[in-house]
């Protein structure tokens, strides 16, 4: 149950990775990406969230149940946004 202790170095590497991604998302917002601006920003945000969840929140060491629970919220949020937007996007 108790996790193997993650090394200090790993934590610092994750933090560095997060800072790089932050730079990437700010940088991307200055490029004229048109309709790809939002998907790009969201992809980078997801990558950052994944880093935090996997390492800071120890999801990579957790059992599948905890991982499933962690995904469930996002999955249902996806359902809500997708189905509601399916109405908004096709409304005349």
């Amino acid at each position: 149950m108790s996790h193997a202790i993650v090394s200090l170095r790993s934590y610092l590497l994750v933090f560095a990775g997060l800072l790089v991604l932050l730079g990437a998302t700010v940088g991307a917002s200055f490029l004229e990406l048109g309709i790809w601006a939002l998907p790009a920003a969201m992809a980078i945000a997801c990558a950052k969230a994944l880093l935090v969840a996997a390492f800071f929140m120890h999801l990579h060491q957790e059992n599948s149940l905890v991982r499933l629970v962690a995904c469930a919220g996002l999955f249902w949020l996806g359902i809500m946004v997708m189905l509601a937007m399916s109405d908004v996007l096709t409304r005349l």
């Binding site: 993650v6 700010v26 969201m42 969840a53 800071f56 929140m57 905890v66 629970v69 962690a70 919220g73």
Partner: protein, 216 residues
């Protein structure tokens, strides 16, 4: 100074392992509900950004991406210190735990201070929705009412986020006090940490959605 983080299970549990497992699962389920709690706001944001893209871009450009970025760094750093506090707790190093928890609290307060400064700037510029909203623009596709809606969402989303941070900071202050009395369990620190990381993740999404919509 070594600390002993073992404890006796509550009456409902067979043993301490079962209790830790249950408490961690409970925390993750709670975070799930938190995702859905913010979810309604994200849906509102999605719909209105789709309907009023130009207004949202114009409104977003009134926010300082620099202050936002600095705040992101501050919050990410606080996540790091929490992670290190949990690590120290696993290593049974109570002094280090306290050090990192204090750092986290300070970083949290720094974040809220910068946020407060931003709110103040918005107030000065008349961007607070309601009767004091004084925005006007002649750009094509930009309407003051839609800009006001962006700021409404901005204040609600960041406000709810800030409220979560205040709860987190309070929790950490309590943990520091408990730690001084050797009344702190590893599981409690871990759960508080999970909560704090979650608040961080929410910000990771809020930042590009609110600060980086427009072209600068």
């Amino acid at each position: 100074m070594p600390a002993d983080y073992t404890e006796i299970p509550e009456a409902a549990f067979e043993n301490i392992e079962q209790q830790r497992d249950a408490s961690k699962l409970g925390m993750w389920v709670f975070l799930c509900t938190e995702v859905m709690f913010f979810g309604g706001l994200f849906l509102a944001y999605c719909e209105y950004r789709h309907l009023h893209p130009d207004s949202f871009a114009a409104a977003s450009s009134h926010l300082s991406w620099m202050l936002g970025s600095v705040n992101t760094v501050v919050l990410l750093a606080s996540s790091l210190t929490v992670a290190l506090a949990v690590r120290a707790a696993s290593l049974r190093s109570a002094g280090t735990v306290n050090l990192f928890l204090v750092a986290t609290v300070l970083l949290g307060i720094a974040f809220l201070s910068i946020k407060g400064f931003e709110y103040y700037t918005d107030y000065r510029e008349g961007l607070i929705p309601g009767s004091s909203f004084t925005y006007s623009s002649s750009q094509p596709g930009v309407q003051a009412r839609e800009v006001e809606m962006f700021f409404m969402l901005y204040f609600i989303m960041t406000g709810v986020h800030a409220f979560h941070m205040i709860i987190g900071i309070t929790a950490f202050i309590v943990l520091i006090a408990m730690s001084r009395q050797r009344a702190l369990s590893l599981q409690t620190i871990e759960n508080a940490g999970l909560y704090w990381h979650f608040v961080d993740v929410i910000w990771i999404f809020l930042f590009p959605l609110l600060y980086l919509v427009g072209h600068h």
